[in-house]
Subunit: 489 residues, 2 copies
């Protein structure tokens, strides 16, 4: 049964109360809350993973790995906030000689936004769902979360939420720091609620854009951190193609069909030199010959996938070189077109096919590559497959312009959670310049506040001169870090 | 003559070309460009300041100070980007033992967004205008700027733009890194232009909100960094009032009338204990007795000011305790109401009066203060006037929630440019969580990009292991700073 609007209002109010109660916690305490949630998830793996498998058709091994990632993420964030790195504590002492005129004592740090609404995705039932990156980073920031369950795995969502709440309880945190709600009406009311101060969203471009518009049309507009997916173009140089064509095609086949192609980082485009279609088709068909398909995540997603692939197949100049199907558990499809067709119809490059399908474009000469890249919209990732002495500087510059992450001789599926990760990219990859994966994701749910000439005892601990919390402080322009951040394993 | 749409398009294209040309510059080179602009402004002070005085009615001393601030800001930003602090260079080496599974080599840094459109304000003809904080931070980030001139000081804008372009030329920078345009049609086309990647705006809530909506409705939405002003409430405790009532009132009178009250940080509300209206009126009238009024910045602003003050004066329960006027050079007006009137009509607290006017609210008991603060919208600043042993923790927490900067026993006018400054605040103070003043303002015009498994020689210098640019690098979670940032004087 879906959350009704009266309950939604009560839930958001309780989340606000929990936020106010919780934000007094010191860094070690908040960090321990995240650890407690991680431990609760770990303890419930035996229940959660089989439930996820039943609702999503994803394999047990994959789901175990995904849960491990989700737990690791919480622990990495716990370590990150324990260090105080995210506070960006900055202290300018009063300075009568300051170049533009006397400077008061001014100290700035980041504070949490408040209640955050999170919309999870269907394709990562752990890592981008109930206790996924958005929830984890919002809690790490010190916010409370009201989470809108994805209808793709309703039972798992409710069960995971119970685990999270038990973890918070066992860790001594206010339990209403996290609450799950269901249904479209509650979702819209969540975006509209005056106490909600930011939205984290992972999903489709259409859905994300509509909610982003809703968030920016409020009486008080709020940030909408939407990860809307992408195409993930891969560019192969002529030299790389000559040197390792079969390896590239085999890697491509594996990456595009991994998890039934239901990744926002699936390689949806492969640019290769002209003239080897028959051979490429042969290699791909052999690489995918033993592929064991599984049902897609939801029926709705299956329908969208089928429509997208059929639409693209029907365009002039597009052929199928791997003939898949649209069974409930579909076999992969690979399409093919010449660059001339793409220059005529650039929209060929902008059609996401969320499932095990991809489009190969044959370019006439390598000099076309930068122009082809110029036809792409914003991407979560782009990839260059090249040899050491290839001249791809122009291409790399263009890809940097349109991408959140640029890979060299790799495949975009697989997004590690780390300090340097950036899972973002220009619109329509995301709606902002931020990342939804990695420690930097925590920053989305913070905002800076400056304190001017405050009595020392009234300053937040992180901004006091004796630095009682031992956080990194930038003092009069110079960073001091009392102790190195401990890397997490 | 206003910029026509065809010229606007050419200008944005030239700005994009200059951006592409300029972004290859190393940190020292870009830093030198900012220094060259600073030197050019300094050299032209003798022309610019009198021109500004003629067009804005602001005094020469004030304008000299403002130009000094503007020049200082460029030099501070030059120093900041020379250090590489803004790049946030983060390196995760490949790690087969990483807790969630093997980690590739992943390196992230900030890159400039591209062409930025800047809309300056009328009230700071140097510091928030042509070469103000938005332009300076966008150039520091590595962006190019197309600047929409404010009609409040058209000649000064054109003349300053010439100085800036000469500075860029003398510094060896692409000249089209900065171009000035004029007129409303060009302004709207600037927000809509596909090559424009962000907007910096300082101005009214209504105008800012409309342009923000426009920016978010583009095919590719772009960030809109709007500083829309505010009310800047000041709260005086009973003890502070007893201890130093006259000092507080004198400080208030000075701050509200400074620069003819035409500051976005003017104290627009003063909350004081009940029962001393007659005395307060006396002190304020004496403090303002010798005030020498100047004309407001523009006729349109004068009209808006007059309407706002008259509208507020007409509300039930509102009296004038300093009877100003609405001459072309108006004398300050101070209004007065009891907190009971405000609890009945909270909108009394939300009426900006852009000019030398302010509203004093008498509260019945100090316990009302937090509730009164609860009626306020987002503020650029709020201030507490209190004694050392006052219990104002709840009030301070509420003010932190709604403010960009919280002051203790000071006045909000005067916004220093420094590392810790935050000139922002929740909507309607600004449209984002960012600052438009201080070194952190540079971050607005950058976005992160991650590079995965790139050959070392193909990585940007800031991400290479030998660290040829000597920038701060976070390596496997631990920050290293090859040399301390040199503080600027």
């Amino acid at each position: 049964m879906n959350t009704n609007l009266s309950d939604l209002d009560s839930i958001v109010n309780a989340a606000q109360a929990a936020f106010l109660l919780g934000r007094g916690a010191d860094l070690r305490t908040r960090s321990a809350w995240l650890e407690a949630v991680a431990a609760a998830l770990e303890a419930d793996a035996g229940v959660l993973v089989p439930l996820a498998a039943r609702e999503t058709h994803l394999g047990l091994t994959r789901l175990q790995g995904e849960l491990k990632r989700t737990i690791f993420q919480l622990r990495l964030f716990a370590s990150e906030i324990r260090s105080g790195e995210h506070l960006d504590a900055t202290i300018d002492h009063a300075d009568p000689q300051w170049g533009m005129g006397p400077r008061p004592d001014l100290r700035r740090m980041n504070v949490p936004l408040g209640v955050v609404g999170v919309f999870g995705a269907s394709n990562f039932p752990f890592a981008f769902s109930v206790m996924g990156g958005d929830t984890a980073s919002a809690l790490a920031a010190g916010c409370s979360v009201v989470y809108k369950a994805h209808e793709g795995h309703p039972e798992l969502s409710v069960r995971t939420a119970e685990t999270v709440q038990r973890g918070l309880l066992e860790g001594g945190a206010p339990q209403a720091l996290f609450t799950l709600v269901t249904g479209r009406a509650a979702a819209e009311a969540l975006v509209d609620h005056p106490l909600v101060k930011a939205i984290g969203f992972t999903g489709s471009t259409a859905g994300g854009r509509a909610l982003a518009q809703r968030a920016s049309s409020r009486a008080e507009p709020i940030p909408f951190y939407g990860e809307l997916g992408g195409i993930n173009a891969v560019f192969v140089t002529a030299k790389a193609w000559s040197a390792r064509r079969d390896t590239i095609l085999t890697g491509y086949a594996g990456s595009l069909s991994l998890g039934m192609g239901q990744f926002c980082t699936k390689p949806g485009l492969l640019f290769v030199p002209a003239g080897a279609t028959a051979e490429a088709s042969g290699v791909l068909n052999r690489a995918l010959a033993d592929f064991e398909p599984a049902p897609l995540l939801t029926e709705r997603l299956h329908e969208g996938y089928t429509n997208a692939v059929e639409h693209l197949s029907d365009q002039p100049g597009v052929q199928r070189i791997v003939e898949g199907n649209f069974e409930p558990a579909p076999l992969p499809t690979v399409l093919h077109a010449a660059s001339s067709a793409v220059f005529d119809q650039p929209e060929l490059l902008r059609q996401e096919m969320f499932g095990p399908a991809s489009l190969i474009i044959e370019y006439a000469t390598e000099s076309e590559l930068t122009a082809l890249a110029g036809l792409l919209e914003g991407q979560l990732t782009t990839t260059i497959q090249a040899e050491e002495d290839d001249d791809v500087n122009d291409l790399a510059a263009r890809l940097t312009d349109i991408s959140g992450r640029v890979l060299w001789n790799g495949w975009p599926t697989g997004v590690t959670v780390s300090y340097a990760q950036h899972h973002g990219g220009p619109y329509p990859a995301t709606t902002t310049t931020t990342t939804s994966v990695g420690t930097a994701a925590v920053r989305r749910f913070l905002r800076p506040v400056a304190f001017q000439d405050f009595p020392h005892a009234r300053l937040p601990e992180a901004l006091q001169d004796p630095n009682p919390w031992s956080v990194p402080q930038r003092i009069d322009g110079v960073w001091t870090r009392p102790q190195p951040v401990t890397a997490v394993r």
